[in-house]
Subunit: 285 residues, 4 copies
Amino acid sequence: MPKTAVLLIDCPDRKGLVAAIANFLVQQYDANILNADQHQDVELGLFFMRIEFATDDTLCDESHFHAAFAPLAERFKMNWRLTFATPPQNVAIFVSHYLHCLADLLHRHQTGELSCNLALIISNHEAARPLADFHKIPFHYLPLTAANKTQVEEQQLALLSANSIDMVVLARYMQVLSAEFVRAYPQRIINVHHSFLPAFTGARPYHAAFARGVKLIGATSHYVTEILDEGPIIEQDVTRVSQNDQLPDLIQKGRDLERLVLSRAVRWHLNYRILSYANKTVIFA
Amino acid sequence: MPKTAVLLIDCPDRKGLVAAIANFLVQQYDANILNADQHQDVELGLFFMRIEFATDDTLCDESHFHAAFAPLAERFKMNWRLTFATPPQNVAIFVSHYLHCLADLLHRHQTGELSCNLALIISNHEAARPLADFHKIPFHYLPLTAANKTQVEEQQLALLSANSIDMVVLARYMQVLSAEFVRAYPQRIINVHHSFLPAFTGARPYHAAFARGVKLIGATSHYVTEILDEGPIIEQDVTRVSQNDQLPDLIQKGRDLERLVLSRAVRWHLNYRILSYANKTVIFA
Amino acid sequence: MPKTAVLLIDCPDRKGLVAAIANFLVQQYDANILNADQHQDVELGLFFMRIEFATDDTLCDESHFHAAFAPLAERFKMNWRLTFATPPQNVAIFVSHYLHCLADLLHRHQTGELSCNLALIISNHEAARPLADFHKIPFHYLPLTAANKTQVEEQQLALLSANSIDMVVLARYMQVLSAEFVRAYPQRIINVHHSFLPAFTGARPYHAAFARGVKLIGATSHYVTEILDEGPIIEQDVTRVSQNDQLPDLIQKGRDLERLVLSRAVRWHLNYRILSYANKTVIFA
Amino acid sequence: MPKTAVLLIDCPDRKGLVAAIANFLVQQYDANILNADQHQDVELGLFFMRIEFATDDTLCDESHFHAAFAPLAERFKMNWRLTFATPPQNVAIFVSHYLHCLADLLHRHQTGELSCNLALIISNHEAARPLADFHKIPFHYLPLTAANKTQVEEQQLALLSANSIDMVVLARYMQVLSAEFVRAYPQRIINVHHSFLPAFTGARPYHAAFARGVKLIGATSHYVTEILDEGPIIEQDVTRVSQNDQLPDLIQKGRDLERLVLSRAVRWHLNYRILSYANKTVIFA
């Protein structure tokens, strides 16, 4: 049975790139290209590529590929990453007391939509424990106060490290992560913000949307960076509201959006379909 | 043939309001209610109503209604407005050099979607003249500079006045109206802004949206108030964009949104379907 | 504390209807109208109304209202129904082996989005039992074969009857109900069909949509009638697909639509927001 | 200044395809790949590719490319087509008495959204003449009866031939083309049908949608084949309707959809972004 892998590349756009990459895969590993997507940013002169390939060549592992691909990567000044389909990524979910995104992710995982190992759930509330237990995911209750935040983050980071966590999902986790925490998982923490960013950043976006009288409300999933609500946007969606929708209706309708944009972002990330640059994302979906 | 009229009311919410209004129309004018919509703002304790009715009573004209309805209006502390279906409203369109919204409004008017008298088009460019001529709408070219702005606005206001204009549509008019101008037509100037407000206020919103890397772009129609881009929102819509969409693609996709949200707003306004309060709108569509 | 109730009316459209109904509620029960919506079908000459009102009048119960309202109802030839907010309706969910709609409804119920008593879950598979147990809803496993269908339906009806079920939700229940069953719960059985009806009726709609190469897939919730997939449509929604979406992707994207359209239909039904006539629905949402 | 061209390919999926094609372009013409998109139909084992490239090689014209590419094309059993950006395609628009799609296409052409030569407009009514004159497009009035249909189609085909027409757009042309006509322009006639196909094929789809009580109405653009409304779907869109929308409202809302789906299809076709197979389309947009 062949191995499958995903190769992600970004580099300055140059003639002959596609041919060079395709030739390498065919000649080196007799690879079968299962999917290939590319994107050019004409203005910035950048090239992005995602190639999913299969190979029967048993030599093809991380270190062999690294050595074999290095000359080409150097010639074209590539940033690149190769990931094999197995083993699946280890994922941690952070949640507070709103459970709709968590429940949704757990159900999708069970259905097979999210191919990953849900390794642990961390919360500053006990509310999610029954759901975690039902799905047999280890649950860690780490209550947070202004006083113990640094200490709790150390505990959280220790748990992530002990579980070899590849990706953190903030499923309506109502705490701001420190810059140190964020730097430990660059482009690997996904948050859902309950507004159509950049409108209504910060706290209580549904209240702000209601006050402004918008006719559509939105939700946004994005990579977390050190600047709150300013990371690269991965996905957004909106739904219509009217005068018949009071604040609780906005919150209810918004929950559906949050579930959709967060779960799509997580799935794309898990399938290596997101490239990020210039505080934007390229989605190969 | 019966007259038809629209009665718009807003007032504090009180018991017996609907019965009192309905009774008045039936008993006073033997009215046939063609459409009735109401809305309650529970938080603010406000009541809004739109009633479209027909009557054969020849007595029913503006002054008679005013006198007859006054006691009831006073008792319930109503703001109200009665408008007969005929004559249609007089409309002026302001436009600069982007003509897509103007062309769209003119075509819709021709098709019968907009029941009004398109009385004149005012522009600071000559670009729209052929289109105005084709549709036989008087066209006024009033070039604008920083130096002559006050003077040109006086000319504009004189034209509006001379044509008994009821409503002004800013169809991508790239000039900011003075506070004096806006105050002359309260809730009667509709603008289209090419972003999903309150995101990307001000100039060059597509550039800003492109720089931020949003996954949906939007457009907003709103009443113009003295504060730029802050008036009551009437309609919004969005469309999906991806990394394949460069700035010119955003602008092109946005044009379709601008046409849609502006034309809906104009039609609703012409049909007296919009009530505005607390810098929001109630749409009875 | 006042009682609240919803009054649903449909009747031939006549002058004075609104005034008569509003007067009755005010004069008879000193009612406070919390919400009122009406709709006229001009072509068929029909009038529809939903009034939600509160009253402190302890006399106001079902039998008193029935007697008091009868003369008015007769005069205007009304079909009408009065329902008090309490007690909540008893709901039964039927499900087979796809659990996404069930999981979604259970989570929404827990969140407070669906105000009802989830009295029982009936399934021809064991798959849903753990979920039912987690949410502490009685679960009944009634396996079905071609041979025992009549007998099983009798057991199902007996369970519904024993639990005073008001409403049945078919949450991807993969069996066709008999005409007798349907007749026992007219306008009280809601199904979700995984296509944009009337396109792709019958079995395997995602396969049919994939084969036809549509660019949007949909889902539809509707009242069940004796003719399969032909009952009054309550809600529909669609999502975009492309050549990148293979059949499993359509099925996955469709699950999100099914959840949305089914849960909206159930919520509207529970809040007495749906009137049905001429095989269509009027939604007062 | 370099020439740009688009190469469209479909063939059985095989190892080494991408490398072979990319190598050919680079080695033969020192081509700069501006855009490349590919798609695999896993089930059918098919491969589709669109490559837009620029070259300074003056040798690169149609006949040279044909000879040079032939061995590769043969080896991989390719269907392929090369088109240079200039000259633009010649387009004919057919229209009857509803002018909204025509007006929209003409405005988009003027704005630069559609890069083509609008060579002529053919109609069985005089209604479109003023619009054609305003845009200075030759207009041909060819009235149609049951008796003269064959003869008129001959006239139409003669006009198309005399103008070297590459593509025909049916912009609400209310006549069914004969099989002979369709066969003369395979995958080169685009129609707009005013429903969400395959729902409501045939005449009066808005009437049918209204009667069925759907909650969304749609429009579809597709290539015309010999079987009415059954050709490969290019684009679809929908909009929400409610009980407040009577038949004229459906027709009005539908006009906006028709404009959008037809203009997108025409633009994609003009930019060689559509590949068609198995009665479906692959859109490289």
